[in-house]
Amino acid sequence: MFAYLVRRLILAILTMWAVSVLSFVVIQLPPGDYITSYIAQMSSSGSFVSEQEANALRQQYGLDQPQYVQYIRWMKMVFQGNFGMALEYGRPVAEVIGDRIYLTMVVSVAAIIFTWCAALPIGVYSAVRQYSFGDYVATFVGFIGLAIPSFMLALILMYFGFTLFNANIGGLFSDEFAEASWSLAKLWDLTKHLPLPAVILGLAGTAQLIRIMRANLLDELGKPYVVTARARGLSESRLIIKYPVRVALNPFASTIGYLLPYVVSGSIIVSLVLSLPTVGPLLLKSLVAQDMFLAGTIVLLLGVMTVIGTFISDLLLMWIDPRIRFEGKQ
């Protein structure tokens, strides 16, 4: 068991290192660098940046160095807990991400809670009452949720919010609270804005989980241990929840690996459409501006979160499903 854990840990660290190299290299693959996009931005506002000025700026940011030198420099800083300066923002990367990460977590966690609260009971219901009217409704909604891209849903809901309820367009706060410091009123304002993005972000996942839950549970329901339990006179609800549902929960546990990076990034496209101040749009913008410190840090963060998440879901699976535990021992 211990050896297994250590092996996983070493693999995890190697993966993170590979992620950091890849993220740094991939970000620099497109032609030009941050200064190229900076010059383009400047000239669109009518300013002139001479060749010499551009070179001086490259020097100032160390962009004139070969890539591996830049990478080593960046890694050195990362180990000192300094992720560099977000070039476009003129602020340390940690601060720029820090500004948004809590709100991102709030939105993502709300979406996950919605997903689970909706998907679990509905999935169980439609498996237990297979081919009932309720099952058909759940299946229908589930397929719709899967089929409609979530950004499309965001657009439609935003449109109806605007025409029918005159609701605020996008964002997580009303104008008067965007700048205000935290207070109960601001929290209430956030709570009012939260359902829309949470539902939109959660719906696709909900549909998916309903289907998975239903399928898995159906597999279990016909198994002899269920029949035995029923023959022994266990109450139906206790029986279902205690045995087959627990086994069917497997997919929930194994998707936690993907949930963690999702929690810190939010969905990029939906966040962009809804103008949510989360990490997602930040990643997109930093990639467009070729700000490799900001983009690199976010990608690295996502990589690390995926690795940790996978690690956690391995442990969880071992706990939930004894079969995996035994395989781990062998």
């Binding site: 002139f48 300066m85 935003m158 104008d175």
Partner: protein, 692 residues
């Protein structure tokens, strides 16, 4: 007419639904009905484009107010002893502005949208009265600004400006000629900060010098006549662009700086170790990065400024907040200190569609930036619900999608031969049906023609040059192409190369994300060129790649807006290949021009040489009239030779769709829309106010 547009707008919106777009979801509904009701037989443009108007400066000191007023909040601070009285805060010779309609009321917060720290111009353009000289509301006459007066010596080698006595920075410290000298000696001449002299402060490749004559007089000296320099001080240039614009986003130009504040950031005034240490403590890698961050008005609320508002909540946070500068040097004709509006609050929109949707919902009080022309029907439909007016400000430049021909192209000798052939270029131009483009992509609001600026611009050679070689005439185009020897065609009717290597294919390179969808414009031109037997290939590139290709001299024809050409000398790069930074008409030629022949390649076409010689000669011409005349000659050559092919312009595509709350007063029906006028600043936003 109206019927035709109905179909066209729907197509336009269908095209746009490909984008993830909130506002587009709205546009799907009934733009056609709105348009039909609005426009009838008329163009919608004519209903929304008003009379050009704006506030004026009172230049006669005898008419200046003697008593001064201030905002209630400031009056309270004065009472509490926290601020000197208003008479002590404004200069002895203030800038007196006669508001457009009436004296305003103090108060209110102006709500706007911006797209993040990269959108600095959104705020810069509002506070641009920190320029040395400026233009009147027509954009043609130079006006005092920070400098109350200016003089050019007879030989054109010396320009002297006089500052306003008693003028103060936003922290109350005096603003004097020393702030100019400090910038020149400690920033501009510092090779770490500014590695080479800037072209805007040079004449014929030779650098200018700055010195102080007395506390309020600054001298700019040049080794050769440079009559153009006054225009440069008034334009949106590195020397005259003002502190906000020229010192934001890593820039270090602008001709002056708050010396008393900036000194602490430079090694010269303490030691390299000391400033580096302070920078590292703030999380920066060295003093230079830190200094550039600290003198950026968007990012540093402590920075002393001269504009009507100063930053309180920096632009790298979700809300870029500004508040009034208690020491602003402008007053109205009753002596009330400007600005009228207390605060500006710019909310971050993660994408342009959300910004447009918010504007449609009436969540902005005044927004002309990022509001898109394609959304005009939806803006109109919702204007009473959102309690706003829609005003259009057509720009002065002629072509929002210009076919910029690479005059140094040499990768494919056959293509190069034709691109460098005048008759071939003329035929390409005659093969474009501009009215169809106008109806499809400009809602019929634009003006079709060549690349010459609006007739109201003194640089324009006259209306007949708008039509020359620039009307739809496929017959004449075919004759021209036949005449130059492109007679053989393939079975589909496309002309063949003369070297026997198949069909002649011309590449149209476009970049994604322009105000007008350039790729779709190119696709339509490709269709139109079928009639003259020319095969075009459109090639959309990501913006950085677009410019990398241009720099590598790889493009044949690049499509780009020709903004800035309405003030040819201040921003020539879209009219002539003179600027290596954005050399759409041939990078080697621009390199050759900018380096005075030391690098790059000289143009082969004698007419191009002539145009560039004319351009170079303008700076030594004494009067504006002479310089205008030269510009007109240059434009005549460009049109005659079709060096670049214009399509449709003079449209509100760039910052010309203005959404204005009905609550605001002193709003011009139409304002000049041009880079050198820092739109909307030539309308003096400091005079805008809330009526109720």
């Amino acid at each position: 007419m109206a019927k035709q547009r109905t179909g066209v707008t729907r197509r336009e919106f269908l095209q746009q639904t490909a984008l993830a777009s909130g506002a587009v979801a709205l546009t799907g509904l009934a733009p056609t009905a709105a348009l039909a009701a609005q426009a009838g037989e008329q163009k919608i443009g004519s209903q929304l484009i008003g009379k050009l108007e704006g506030p004026e400066l009172v230049l006669d000191p005898a008419k200046w107010p003697k008593k001064f007023g201030e905002a209630p909040a400031l009056a309270e601070l004065v009472k509490a002893g926290k601020l000197p009285p208003v008479e002590k805060r404004i200069p002895e010779e203030p800038m007196v502005v006669k508001p457009l309609h009436s004296i305003g009321k103090y108060g209110g917060t102006w709500r706007r949208g911006f797209t993040g720290p990269g959108d600095g111009e959104n705020g810069n353009r509002i506070v641009s009265t920190d320029k040395i000289l400026f233009w009147d509301y027509t954009g043609t006459k130079i006006m005092p600004c920070l400098a109350k007066d200016w003089k050019v010596s007879d030989d054109g080698r010396v320009v002297v400006i006089t500052l306003r006595k008693g003028h103060r920075w936003s922290d109350g410290q005096p603003f004097t000629a020393d702030d100019f000298v400090f910038w020149y000696e400690d920033v501009y001449m510092n090779k770490d900060i500014q590695p080479t002299p800037h072209p805007d402060f040079m004449v014929n490749g030779k650098p200018g010098r700055l010195s102080k004559r007395d506390e309020y007089t600054v001298m700019f000296e040049f080794p050769e006549p440079n009559y153009l320099f006054v225009d440069i001080l008034a334009g949106s240039t590195a020397m005259g662009g003002g502190q906000a614009t020229q010192q934001h986003f890593l820039r270090s130009m602008g001709a002056y700086m708050p010396a008393h504040y900036i000194k602490q950031l430079l090694p010269k005034y303490s030691s390299r170790d000391e400033v580096d240490k302070r920078a590292k403590a703030a999380g920066f890698d060295g003093w230079l990065s830190y200094a550039k961050n600290r003198w950026d008005w968007r990012l540093n609320p402590e920075l002393p400024v001269l504009g009507p508002w100063k930053t309180v909540s920096p632009a790298n946070t979700p809300t870029w907040g500004l508040e009034r500068n208690p020491y602003y040097y402008g007053v109205d004709t009753e002596g009330k200190q400007l600005p009228y509006i207390d605060k500006i609050s710019m909310g971050l929109a993660e994408n342009l569609e959300v910004l447009n949707l918010r504007a449609i919902a009436g969540q902005y009080d005044l927004q002309e930036r990022h509001t898109a022309m394609a959304k005009i029907p939806v803006f109109l439909e919702n204007r009473s619900k959102g309690n706003y007016d829609v005003k259009l400000d057509p720009a002065l430049n002629a072509s929002d999608a210009t076919l910029q021909i690479n005059h140094a192209y040499d990768a494919d000798p056959e293509i190069a031969k034709w691109l460098h052939n005048r008759d071939f270029r003329r035929a390409l131009s005659l093969g474009i049906e501009r009215e169809q483009l106008n109806e499809t992509f400009w809602l019929g609001i634009g003006v079709a023609g060549s690349v010459i600026p609006s007739d109201s611009s003194p640089y324009s050679p006259g209306g007949e040059w708008r039509k020359k070689w620039s009307t739809y005439n496929p017959k004449q185009a075919n004759e021209l192409l036949d005449k130059i020897g492109l007679t053989k065609k393939d079975s589909e009717g496309y002309r063949l190369r003369t070297d026997g290597k198949g069909r002649l294919r011309i590449e149209l390179q476009t970049s994604a994300g322009a105000f007008i969808p350039h790729t779709q414009v190119a696709e339509m031109i490709k269709e139109q060129w079928k009639k003259i037997g020319i095969q075009a290939d459109t090639k959309e590139l990501e913006r950085n790649l677009f410019f990398t290709k241009i720099k590598g001299n790889e493009h044949q024809i690049a499509i780009w807006a020709n903004d800035g050409t309405e003030a040819l000398y201040l921003f020539p790069r879209h009219a002539l290949p003179v600027d290596p930074v954005e050399a759409l008409m041939g990078h080697p030629i621009a390199d050759w021009f900018a380096s005075n022949g030391k690098a790059g390649k000289a143009p082969k076409d004698p007419q191009m040489v002539k145009a560039l010689d004319l351009f170079r000669s303008a700076g030594s011409k004494k009067t504006a009239q002479e310089r205008y005349k030269i510009a007109q000659e240059i434009f005549k050559i460009i049109v005659e030779e079709q060096f670049s092919i214009g399509t449709v312009g003079q449209s509100p595509a760039t910052m010309g769709v203005r959404i204005v709350s009905k609550k605001l007063g002193n709003i011009p029906a139409r304002q000049v829309n041009a880079q050198h006028c820092r739109t909307p600043c030539s309308s003096h936003p400091a005079t805008f106010f809330y009526k109720a």
